[in-house]
């Protein structure tokens, strides 16, 4: 019962001959293997994008609303910063497992946690952007007879855009990194193939590299959007 099974001999079609020296079997760095197995990463990559975009979008909607509120009612700034700050500090793995009894395994648990993470940076940046609007611009707007709402949307938000977009970029790159842990909550993402062959150097480097590439790509995309939305800043 404790005799080792001899290495299977070839023959009968099912059993394979394995060379003593093999890049893949020795967990080395084998570029060819990546090309042959790209399809293994497509679903995790798509899921990763989904988790990131959903979380950042949801976080942005919430943080933007909070910042607009806090912009007028300053007493909100402290409490909101504290709450979002605490949410940011909680380690994501802990949050996943604390949420599991409530929301179960799956994308929802991961998205709730990831969204909570984006709140602090997005709230701070939107608020800072709104606060940073020069008083002259506001005066000019009021002088033109703009209502508070119109002032916000036609003067303050456009001028706050650089700070808002900066916050979006930071939140997005951070979320891409955190979404790699989403597999703990049963939500897939690039962390899954990463963990599935964690001793295989090729896999670890490629899956990790995909994460970084995704973050860079999303960062560049947001930067592009920022340039389109704020043509006046390019004059600098």
């Amino acid at each position: 019962m404790s005799m080792p099974v001899p290495l299977a001999q070839s023959g009968g079609g099912f059993f394979r001959d394995r060379a003593a020296d093999s890049c893949v079997a020795d967990n080395g760095i084998c570029p060819g293997w990546i090309l042959d197995n790209l399809d293994r990463y497509t679903t995790p990559l798509a899921q990763h994008v989904f988790l990131t975009v959903t979380s950042v979008a949801a976080g942005f909607v919430i943080a933007f609303a909070l910042a607009v509120l806090a912009h007028r009612r300053r007493w909100l700034v402290g409490p909101v910063t504290n709450v979002t700050g605490i949410l940011y500090t909680l380690p994501s793995v802990a949050v996943f497992f604390l949420l599991l009894p409530i929301t179960g395994r799956g994308s929802l648990t991961a998205i709730i946690a990831l969204t909570a993470y984006t709140l602090l940076i997005l709230f701070r940046n939107v608020l800072a952007g709104l606060d940073g609007v020069p008083e002259d611009a506001r005066d000019a707007g009021r002088g033109m007879g703009l209502s508070d709402r119109a002032l916000l949307w036609r003067v303050e938000v456009p001028l706050a855009l650089p700070a808002i977009m900066a916050g979006l970029r930071i939140a997005t790159t951070t979320t891409v990194g955190l979404a790699a842990l989403a597999f703990f909550a049963g939500a897939g993402g690039l962390g899954e193939p990463l963990e599935a062959q964690k001793a295989f150097k090729t896999n670890v480097l490629f899956a990790g590299g995909l994460c970084v590439a995704l973050a860079v790509a999303l960062d560049a995309a947001i930067l592009l959007v920022q340039r389109r939305l704020t043509p006046w800043t390019r004059a600098a």
Binding site: S2, P4, L7, V53, A58, V61, R105, P158, L161, F200
Partner: protein, 332 residues
């Protein structure tokens, strides 16, 4: 469009996107696989035939968190799907306690367990009372699970025991052939094992209680690293499984269990008794067909597909089912 309108449009789009994706997330957790419509003719040699009546039964198949378990889970899941059941997969759950809890809580319908693991981890049979005969071991397991409302199906031919492994250099250097040879030497050696090894009688606890061994240090690592830690020199001793292909490949030496710490470890598929009843006779028949060819050589080859060739458990399982004429070559 003025910048303001562009911004508003962008924000509205973002909000809509967030809402849409959020709703998607809420609904996307249930994804049945298998049991889809199949219009191609089944090859007459495929042993598992699709029975459309089975489609009303949903089976959620789980597995523990190492290669052999994932392959077995995939094999059973694909086999049940081929038989016409509606199958969902929740593989890679964790250690045996996590898997059993998932079964008892109804999160999964069934998963493949080992007779030895059940005897030691679930039923806490003392080492001296462990049966040596695989069939006896299965009988005991089956009876005890029956009392718990769980059906244990007839076991596989292969048994994959926990083993105590060292590199051939270490074995030569310290003159190790059986586990008791470690007496007097283990206090200088570092043992690596899975995290649950700390509490198992067929692992660290057994080595301490049955063989009286004290190690310099025990380091819990992920079970998937059980061979890497030996080859890179982190571990002096590691706990491995009989069907691991790395043993022969890395020329590891398995120490003989001279005091009989390890029971038989045939794989038996556990399922919630009610679901098993509802599933009908096709279930047992499918399991029987699947198990027939799962001997130690084949299981080791399947492990090699994943651990050495870096294939996915899904592909390895599909190949097994096709190679042994259990399902038609087109998969389904």
């Amino acid at each position: 469009m003025t910048p303001t309108r562009t911004i508003r449009a962008a924000l509205a789009a973002v909000a809509a996107l967030a809402l849409a994706l959020g709703l998607l997330a809420c609904g996307d957790d249930d994804e049945p696989s298998g049991g889809g419509t199949d219009t191609t003719q089944e090859e007459p040699t495929a042993a598992i035939t699709r029975n459309p009546d089975n489609a009303s039964t949903t089976l959620t198949i789980g597995s523990k968190n190492f290669t052999e378990q994932q392959v077995l889970g995939e094999i059973y899941a694909q086999a049940f799907a081929a038989a016409g059941y509606t199958v969902r997969k929740e593989l890679n759950l964790g250690d045996e306690q996590t898997a059993l809890k998932a079964l008892k809580d109804g999160e999964i319908s069934g998963y493949p367990e080992y007779t030895g693991t059940a005897l030691l981890s679930f039923f806490e049979v003392p080492t001296k009372d462990l049966p040596k005969d695989p069939q006896q071991a299965f009988e005991q397991v089956r009876q005890r699970f029956e009392a718990d409302g769980i059906t244990a199906f007839p076991p596989t031919p292969f048994t994959s025991s926990n083993e105590v492994a060292v590199t051939s250099e270490t074995a030569e250097r310290l003159g190790l052939r059986k586990i008791s040879d470690l007496e007097g030497k283990s206090q200088d050696l570092v043992l690596y094992g899975s995290p649950e090894c700390r509490g198992r009688d067929d692992c660290l606890r057994g080595l301490q209680n049955v063989y009286g061994l004290r190690f310099k240090r025990f380091v819990p690592v992920d079970i998937a690293q059980r061979h890497e830690v030996l080859t890179n020199g982190d571990a002096d001793v590691s706990i491995v499984f009989t069907t691991d292909p790395q043993i022969a490949r890395n020329r590891e030496v398995l120490l003989e269990d001279d005091k009989g710490m390890f029971p038989p470890y045939n794989s038996t598929f556990l399922m919630d008794a009610e679901t098993a009843e509802k599933a009908g006779p096709d279930l047992e028949r499918t399991i029987e067909l699947v198990n027939k060819n799962l001997n130690a050589r084949v299981m080791q080859e399947l492990n090699a597909r994943v651990d050495l060739d870096k294939e996915t458990p899904q592909d390895a399982a599909a190949d097994y089912l096709q190679q042994f004429d259990l399902v038609a070559p087109d998969g389904s």
